[in-house]
């Protein structure tokens, strides 16, 4: 395999690793990987969920220690034992799971660990100024002095990126930076990455959106089951080729959900709004229909669907279910009425990381299962086995979910809400961090649900996803509904035109 290692970049500087291995409890998850990240290059790193991408990056960034293997940085030996070690050597990681300090301001989060000091004091002025500069580069219009509490996932992710960029690293790993970004923001991130590479920074770019990987990479490596299986020394690899390297087989997608029963309106939302967040939302979803919701980051989509699912209150408007007005003032009430939501933030709001997949999946349904009997592990495992098969969850159902790879966690989250067929299924970024194969499987599941008569609302920042799945597409911007397009009229351009806030160039 070592002859596959790409040549070092200009000047011969590179971050390399040889025979890197990592085992957890005797199970090897990274199996002797050799790699080289030449300075000035963008190395795309692809692989299925659980292939070991994050583990490999964590080893490079000093977050976890390799079980064995060696690394070099610009020719010198490199064995970081902590993230600060790695940062000192100029190696930064943008972690897959966003980690913000809620009590600090945006600027302080960006400068966490290296606050600028002037005259013995933290130099707030220059910190805010520099933060604003990087945020501007990424196209984020955000006051660096505000607290990060309440910022959407997308904004937080952008802050993470700003944080890494502002450190001026020599090597930087982006572990799925675009997972909750729309195309618009992603483009800016990719621009930044290209610019960094031009300045001689070595970049690793991990993503399940293969188009992005193609777009930005100058070389691509592919992991499967912890081993490096493929290594292209160019970026424009055709997607099917990448997919077959990742999955180890060919596969096809594309199949449409049947036309919905337009006359059977299941969910009707009239003039829904919450002061200062969103207002005037009107739409209907029929039996078997998939309504996509598109918009830019911060358009208010998450807030809107959370309200419908009873997670947040609303100040105006009403929600009708099968023609009857309902008051869904708590998630419990919504679930009882058959309205379920898969939240966008799986760690914060979706899963209980310390508990097993089986327990997580069956959490909402325990009351029902427990009627007149004890909930035993056997009962849970039996019930969860079906979800596992349906969703192809890799990893034992007894393991705490924290130990599953990101994509598999997402599948657990989906499985949780489809144990019983809902009346209305709301999905907020259902494929965040999910690999192509799993993504197709999830699409299939969503379509099947619709085909069986469930009314589905899908919020997604991936335009192709919204366009590909939905019967109709609703576009939001600035907390307002800009229009609902039938599939025939919905194309990327029309949607984007509506999504960009008016009065703004």
């Amino acid at each position: 395999m070592s002859d596959d290692v790409p040549a070092p970049g200009p000047g011969g500087r590179a971050l390399t690793g040889s025979a890197l291995r990592k085992s957890y409890a005797g199970i090897e998850v990274v199996k002797g990987v050799d790699f080289a990240i030449p300075a000035g290059a963008v190395v795309g790193l692809i692989g299925e969920n659980g292939a070991g991408k994050s583990t490999l990056s964590s080893m490079i960034a000093g977050v976890v220690l390799p079980t064995s293997g060696e690394m070099t940085l610009d020719g010198e030996s490199y064995a970081p034992t902590s993230p600060s070690d790695a940062l000192d050597r100029g190696v930064a990681l943008i972690h897959q799971e966003i980690r913000m300090v809620p009590s600090l301001s945006v600027a302080e989060n960006i400068f966490l660990g290296r606050l600028p000091v002037r005259g013995g004091k933290v130099d707030t002025g220059s910190m805010v100024r520099q933060s604003r500069e990087v945020l501007d580069l990424l196209g984020i219009d955000l006051d660096p002095r505000r607290s990060v509490v309440g910022l959407s996932m997308a904004v937080q992710q952008s802050i993470e990126i700003a944080k890494a960029i502002s450190r001026g690293p020599k090597y930087v790993i982006f572990d799925e930076p675009s997972a909750s970004l729309t195309g618009h923001e992603t483009d800016r991130v990719l621009d930044q990455i290209r610019r960094m590479a031009e300045h001689g920074v070595g970049v690793v770019y991990i993503s399940h959106r293969l188009e992005e990987v193609r777009d930005v990479s100058s070389q691509i490596i592919c992991l499967r089951d912890g081993a490096l299986v493929k290594n292209w020394d160019r970026g424009n690899v055709p997607a099917p080729e990448m997919v077959s390297a990742m999955v180890g087989r060919e596969f096809t997608f594309e199949h449409q959900a049947p036309e919905p029963h337009r006359e059977d309106v299941v969910l009707e939302v009239r003039g829904l709004g919450r002061k200062g967040v969103f207002s005037g939302v009107d739409f209907t979803v029929s039996r078997g229909e998939i309504l996509g919701v598109a918009g830019l980051v911060g358009a208010g989509r998450t807030e809107m669907v959370r309200t419908i699912a009873g997670a947040d209150r609303y100040d105006e408007g009403e929600v009708l279910l099968e023609g009857r007005p309902v008051r869904l003032d708590s998630p419990a009430a919504a679930i009882a009425a058959g309205v379920v939501m898969v939240p966008e933030d799986r760690k914060g709001q979706g899963l209980n990381l310390g508990l097993s997949s089986a327990v997580n999946i069956l959490q909402p349904w325990e009351r029902e299962m427990g009627r007149g009997r004890f909930i035993t592990n056997r009962l849970l495992n039996r019930a969860a086995a079906k979800s596992r098969a349906d969703f192809d969850i890799r990893g034992s159902m007894d393991l705490p979910v924290v130990r599953l790879s990101g994509g598999n966690q997402q599948k657990v989250l989906l499985a949780k809400w489809l144990v019983h067929e809902p009346t209305v299924l709301i999905l907020d970024e259902p494929t965040r961090g999910v690999d192509v194969g799993a993504k197709m499987a999830i699409y299939e599941i969503i379509r099947d649900c619709a085909a069986r008569g469930v009314a589905v609302v899908v919020v997604s920042s991936e335009l192709e996803e919204v366009l590909g799945l939905s019967h109709r597409v609703m576009v939001m911007s600035g907390g307002r509904q800009r229009g609902i397009l039938p599939r025939a009229d919905a194309d990327a351009e029309t949607v984007m035109q509506l999504a960009v806030p008016t009065g703004q160039q």
Binding site: S330, P331, G350, Q363, F374
Partner: protein, 338 residues
């Protein structure tokens, strides 16, 4: 919302949490899951049996159970509170208040004793309800809310009788705890029954299992349709009720109700739960663990007595043992803290 979910650092050693398949090894696995504390307990018991000829007598073992029962009953409630990520500082003061209230009803108002007991129980639950309402509906930090009720309960307990002790309870009642059923004291049986009931509730019933979900990730629990606020409130009510039950045991044991009863219990109660492996950040803990923690404290106090350790040095030894127990459990803690 910002993600602040505490996450286990990926480099922590991972022990296999999968239960083994064999039926016989089930108990063993469960014990192993309890980890360090069990080892600590076993070591202590073995050491004590060698060091003191009196230790392994049935009378002494039954003493140990009897001795820990009041703290144990309160610790059962505290386990639940700690599981949901809360804390109940009022539990010991609540014990004193309910004791004085029942005793006052009985002696001054001349309410029949069983009725006075029940009214005391209700008062304990009402204090719990107040704690629960303040923390889950009022969004006050549990520490602050229960500190306030602790102070208020302690004051009221003193106020009822101006600090005086009340004696002269029905003799059948004081005899209850003098009775021994086949060498197990009655309050020991009460203790075990309470632990079994709550343990099964936590393990097998949705209501109990919900506490792990709430303690682990409250947001996710709410979005899963769990009635989070009510579930939390209920836990405080149970803890308050159990404080009153521990008060019954105390009255029966001493045939008296003093307003300063339980003054030193608070830290012991919480310590028992924490030594038993529960995490104060919620979501981690079990009745089995707390029971082990309780036995460790019980055997320790008993053992130090039997061995005639200098009373002032006993506290040093207790400190060291607590540390040893939690240090051996450290790997486990790290895992469970995930």
């Amino acid at each position: 919302m910002t993600t602040t979910q505490p996450q286990k650092s990926p480099d922590s050693p991972v022990t296999d949490p999968l239960p083994s398949v064999g039926v016989g090894s089930k108990l063993l696995t469960r014990l192993r899951n309890l980890g360090g504390p069990v080892v600590g307990l076993v070591v202590m018991v073995v050491a004590m049996s060698f060091l003191s000829p009196f230790f392994l007598t049935s009378r002494n073992l039954s003493n140990i159970i009897a001795q820990v029962s009041d703290i144990g009953i309160m610790a059962a409630g505290a386990t639940l509170v700690i599981l949901i990520g809360g804390i109940d500082l009022s539990v010991a003061a609540n014990l004193a208040l309910t004791m004085m209230f029942s005793a006052w009803l009985f002696q001054v108002i001349e309410v029949p004793w069983p009725v006075a007991m029940i009214l005391g129980l209700l008062l304990g639950m009402a204090v719990g309800l107040l704690n629960g309402a303040l923390t889950s509906y009022g969004k006050v930090q549990a520490f602050a809310a229960t500190l306030a009720t602790m102070s208020a309960c302690a004051g009221m307990a003193l106020f009822i009788t101006k600090g005086n002790t009340i004696n002269g309870f029905p003799s059948w009642f004081s005899n209850l705890t003098s009775n021994v059923l086949g060498s197990v004291p009655v309050q020991g049986i009460l203790l075990v029954v309470i632990y079994l009931l709550i343990g099964m509730w936590l393990r097998y019933r949705p209501g109990g299992r919900a506490l792990y979900a709430i303690g682990g990730n409250e947001q996710a629990a709410r979005l899963s349709g769990l009635p989070v606020r009510w579930a939390k409130t209920r836990v405080y009510i149970i803890a308050g009720g159990l404080a009153a039950v521990a008060g019954w045991v105390n009255i029966s044991l001493l045939d008296s109700a003093q307003p300063t009863a339980g003054a030193g219990y608070l830290l012991n109660v919480i310590a028992v739960v924490v030594i038993g492996g529960a995490s104060l950040s919620g979501g981690v803990g079990s009745m089995g663990g707390t029971f082990i923690g309780l036995l460790i404290i019980g055997v320790l106090n008993n053992g130090l007595s039997l061995l005639h350790v200098n009373p002032n040095l006993q506290q040093v030894v207790i400190g060291a043992v607590i540390l040893a127990a939690v240090l051996t459990d450290r790997a486990g803690n790290r895992l469970r803290a995930a």
